[in-house]
């Protein structure tokens, strides 16, 4: 990409289309955070592409004044992979939801993570199907009453992060839908990261699943219930900044600084760059505290880098530059 990138404001990234999400939906927060993050990324507007599937979240590209495709249910990761392989210079974003990515699109979701193309996926997880009006999703809780589970959901849920890291995700972050400032910063970090970045947004659906994350995200309890991890920093949380995580055998344990002789030095220090995902998986699974921030950011070679290197190697070993070289080589014969 060329160096000269225009000075943009968030308005440059807003399309002329009227936003049609329900009032009070966290999707507005995500949209605005993205529009604010993009001018900070140093990418040209014409190099940005949003690809979505189907669902409430997937209307997102229509509201961004960039290139975009609102595609078909579950397939956005595969379409985005094609875009990125065709033109690795583009900044490619996948917009998806819990049903889109982990139900109908589950296969594409795990394989895009495995391949590690340099693209960014924002997963709007509201633990419900919104656009089809309130059926349970693959992240809905057991017992959850929905339109399609009036007596309670019997299907155990996926944890998005656990699934993603199991599928070799190199970058996984989680953010609460009501923290726009942190979200904007995360989007910028995701763009900087070379490889597939997955950001799970804990997104409230005010209509069909209102308050699903309230015990972690409500302003009154947020600091006590959430641990926002930062690479290289100790895992501290709590209004009084007195709670922290230690490793007790093979389990994480919440401790209080000053009790039982615990000091800040005893706490785990977050290493997002670690290749071994064991601790990252524990952080992903933790319910108290709910861990947010960049949980995993392991730098690895991307698919397009592997492909580029291979193509360069094949080119340098080949005598073929034009198709005629191929067509007129080998077992040809002449008829006179």
């Amino acid at each position: 990409m060329e160096a000269a990138v225009k000075e943009y404001t968030y308005k440059d990234f807003a399309s002329d289309q009227e936003v049609r999400w329900c009032p009070g939906c966290d999707d507005y927060v995500i949209l605005r955070s993205m529009q604010k993050a993009l001018p900070e990324m140093g990418v040209k507007k014409e190099d940005v592409v949003f690809i979505s599937g189907i669902g409430c979240s997937s209307r997102f590209p229509y509201y961004m004044n960039t290139y975009g495709m609102h595609s078909i249910h579950g397939r956005a990761p595969a379409i985005a992979s094609g875009v990125k392989l065709a033109n690795p210079d583009l900044s490619v974003w996948v917009i998806t939801g819990d049903g889109d990515s982990m139900a109908i699109g589950g296969n594409h979701f795990i394989h895009v993570l495995r391949r590690n193309l340099d693209l960014n996926i924002i997963l709007f997880n509201n633990e419900i199907y919104g656009l089809t009006k309130g059926q349970f999703s693959p992240t809905s809780l057991v017992g959850q009453k929905t339109k399609s589970s009036p007596y309670g959901n019997t299907q155990p849920p996926f944890s998005a992060g656990e699934l993603a890291i199991g599928a070799q995700a190199r970058f996984f972050a989680r953010i609460s839908g009501n923290t726009p400032k942190e979200m904007t910063a995360l989007f910028i970090e995701a763009e900087k990261f070379k490889g597939t970045s997955l950001i799970e947004v804990l997104q409230n659906c005010p209509i069909f699943n209102d308050g699903c994350y309230v015990k972690y995200t409500d302003k009154a309890v947020r600091e006590d219930r959430q641990l926002f991890v930062e690479h290289g920093k100790p895992m501290i949380f709590g209004k009084e900044r007195d709670k922290g995580l230690i490793l007790n055998g093979l389990k994480l344990e919440v401790v209080t600084i000053g009790e039982k002789g615990i000091t800040q030095e005893d706490l785990l220090v977050h290493n997002a760059n670690e290749e071994d995902p064991t601790l990252h998986q524990m952080l992903v699974r933790s319910e108290y505290p709910m861990v947010t921030g960049i949980i995993r950011a392991f730098n690895d070679i991307t698919l397009e880098e592997r492909e580029d290197a291979l193509t360069a190697q094949v080119k340098s070993n080949s005598n073929f530059t034009k198709t005629d070289d191929l067509f007129f080589s080998g077992d040809i014969y002449n008829v006179f």
Binding site: V49, Y67, I72, R75, F327, Y333
Partner: protein, 618 residues
């Protein structure tokens, strides 16, 4: 060795059909390919067809594990691999049992007697040894202890294990056949030198066995005749033997180069289409990008992504895979992006007959999507013209901005024939609808007034940022529109755009009679069978039969109805229960379309066609 050729009667033949059969591990495909390549280089016209089981290595000696390769060579025009064979080479009892019916009475079968053991005879369900019980008395049987002679020939070559020794017995058979048909072994020896570059012991072994077979046949009194087939009269030029799937892949390479776009293939392996992926993945030196995707859906959707980003994007599949791609194909049609889908048809429905041929995906190609979603459908008709129609598919999709479905089938995809090599410079121009800069009042759904193709604005182009998607589009801005009149307008314009392709494709031309009593109609991969049947009848004096073979299915050529009107009877011949004929019935009224259909996973046989046609013209 005694050079005894002069003492033998050398008979000149117009054409000969040879079938090599054996266990799937016996190397019959290689043997057949070597014989056909050598014959082509000698100047013969050639058509080949492999016939192999879906099982990779079926139990040795079993009836369902038989693999075969048929070669038809001639000094005259050869349009099909042929039906009944002049020479059968059977490497084991199962091969003999499953293929003897195809050998013309009185003709020759060569067998490896070493393979006719009690165990193998039992596996082939023979109650007694056919070599001993008189059941082959209508044929000329040449019994050769090929396995033992191969071992004998190799006893002094060092570094060979037992398996490599027995596996080279196919070269003994090939050597014999080379001598019988007056072919030089030179090309095959060169092939060994290349293939086994790093294994000199294998070059030596295979060459020795090949020569042993050749000399054995030369000195053998059991082979009274040697035959020769003179070179065919073919248009001057440079040729090569090409398989249909390779030709398809190369057509796309040529189209990418001509159009100046990069080629992207998204694909999921499926028989019999995988060879297109195998071929294209080799050509990274031309900048070809391939993604072996996680499934059929990702195959096509990754291609849609690549197309959105400005590549010439294709995806390849076969029957069941096309069903999986249906939804995404509808998206490509809706967002009006270029995309080629290749469907190498196989026996259906469901998993069907993966290694057999059929033409039963035609209606799926035409209508297999939700909503009204017309696309361009074309079909290749010979192994060599898979090149032309792949190129044409790319040209049409880029020029008309709507997906093109290219139908081939297992028969032409795996079959091979001489291809007159075409230089990219001689191929027709390919235009595209790319818009490079933002002009005032630009809209994503602005159209070319004549073709109705919308313009193609590619990410990375400043000022042309826009959104597309599967929801109905406003006719100009491409934004989501639920306006009733707009939906009807857009439905019609997408159909009209495909219909107008008629203005850009050639008229249908009939072969043989231009008017008369019977018009034989075919489409796609049956060209060779139908052409040779009508030609044979024409030679016999039935000059009132015409033949119209269609490569353009949707839309049909403009003059189709005009041509149909010139004949009293019309028979539509297809390897399905009658699908193209349905398309005719929808489009052309006042005709009584007769049908000839076959759904056995096999191509038409010459005699069944001729018998049918003769019953229609007295």
């Amino acid at each position: 060795m005694i050079a005894a050729k002069e003492e033998h009667k050398q008979e000149v033949l117009e054409a000969v059909i040879i079938r090599f059969v054996g266990d799937s591990g016996d190397g019959m495909q290689l043997t057949g390919t070597q014989f056909s390549d050598t014959s082509a280089m000698f100047g013969n016209d050639v058509a080949t067809f492999p016939n192999y089981p879906a099982e990779i290595r079926a139990p040795q000696g079993s009836l369902y594990g038989v693999s075969g390769f048929q070669v038809h060579i001639g000094s005259v025009e050869i349009s099909t691999p042929g039906d009944n064979v002049d020479l059968l080479v059977a490497m084991n009892p199962a091969g003999l049992k499953t293929n003897l019916h195809a050998l013309k009475p009185g003709h020759t079968v060569i067998v490896d007697t070493d393979a006719f053991t009690k165990k193998n005879l039992e596996k082939a369900l023979y109650e007694s040894n056919p070599l001993e019980d008189g059941s082959l008395e209508n044929y000329r049987v040449i019994e050769v202890a090929m396995t033992s002679m191969t071992k004998e020939a190799l006893k002094e070559v060092e570094g060979l294990d037992n398996k490599s020794i027995t596996r080279s017995k196919n070269m003994f058979a090939l050597g014999m056949v080379y001598w019988m048909y007056d072919r030089s072994a030179e090309h095959t020896i060169q092939f060994f030198n290349k293939k086994f570059k790093s294994k000199p012991e294998l070059i030596e072994a295979n060459t020795k066995v090949l020569n042993a077979g050749f000399y054995f046949a030369e000195t053998l009194e059991l082979i009274p005749n040697a035959y020769t087939i003179s070179p065919a009269k073919m248009a001057p030029g440079t040729y090569r033997i090409i398989m249909g799937n390779t030709a398809t892949a190369w057509g796309f390479l040529a189209a990418a180069e001509k159009s100046g776009l990069e080629l992207f293939l998204g694909s999921y392996p499926i028989t019999p289409a995988s060879d297109i992926l195998h071929e294209l993945v080799k050509h990274k030196h031309f900048g070809v990008k391939t993604l072996q995707a996680e499934d059929e859906i990702a195959g096509i959707t990754s291609a849609i992504g690549a197309s959105f980003a400005g590549d010439l994007a294709i995806t390849t599949t076969s029957g069941p895979g096309l069903a999986l791609k249906g939804e995404a194909l509808g998206l490509a049609m809706m967002i009006e992006l270029p995309l080629v889908v290749v469907d190498v048809q196989r026996g259906g429905p469901s998993t069907g007959l993966p290694t057999k041929t059929e033409q039963s995906d035609l209606l799926q190609a035409m209508y297999g999507r939700n909503g009204e979603s017309p696309i361009i459908v074309i079909a290749a008709s010979t192994p060599a013209n898979c090149f032309d129609y792949a190129y044409e598919a790319a040209k049409l999709t880029l020029e008309h901005m709507t997906p093109v479905l290219l139908l081939t089938d297992g028969y032409i995809a795996n079959g091979s024939a001489p291809w007159k090599v075409q230089s990219v410079a001689s191929m027709p121009e390919i235009k595209n609808n790319i818009v490079k800069e933002a002009k005032e009042n630009w809209h994503p759904y602005d159209r070319n007034e004549e073709s109705l193709a919308r313009n193609w604005a590619i990410p990375g182009t400043e000022g042309l940022e826009h959104r597309v998607g599967g929801l109905e589009k406003d006719r100009i801005s491409g934004n989501v529109s639920y306006v009733p009149e707009n939906h009807e307008y857009m439905t019609k314009i997408r159909a009209e755009k495909v219909k107008r392709v008629q203005n850009y494709i050639p008229d249908i031309e009939t072969e043989f009679a231009k008017e008369g009593d019977l018009l034989v109609v075919g489409w796609g991969g049956t060209y060779g069978s139908l052409h040779s049947a009508v030609k044979q009848m024409d030679n016999e004096g039935y000059t009132n039969i015409g033949f119209a073979h269609f490569n353009y299915i949707n839309p049909l050529p403009k003059n189709t109805e005009e041509v149909l009107k010139k004949f009293k009877k019309i028979i539509v011949c297809e390897l399905n229960s009658g699908q193209f004929v349905q398309v005719f019935r929808i489009n052309f009224h006042g005709f009584d379309f007769l049908q000839f259909n076959k759904v056995q996973g096999l191509p038409f046989a010459n005699n069944e066609l001729i018998q049918k046609f003769k019953s229609l013209v007295k």
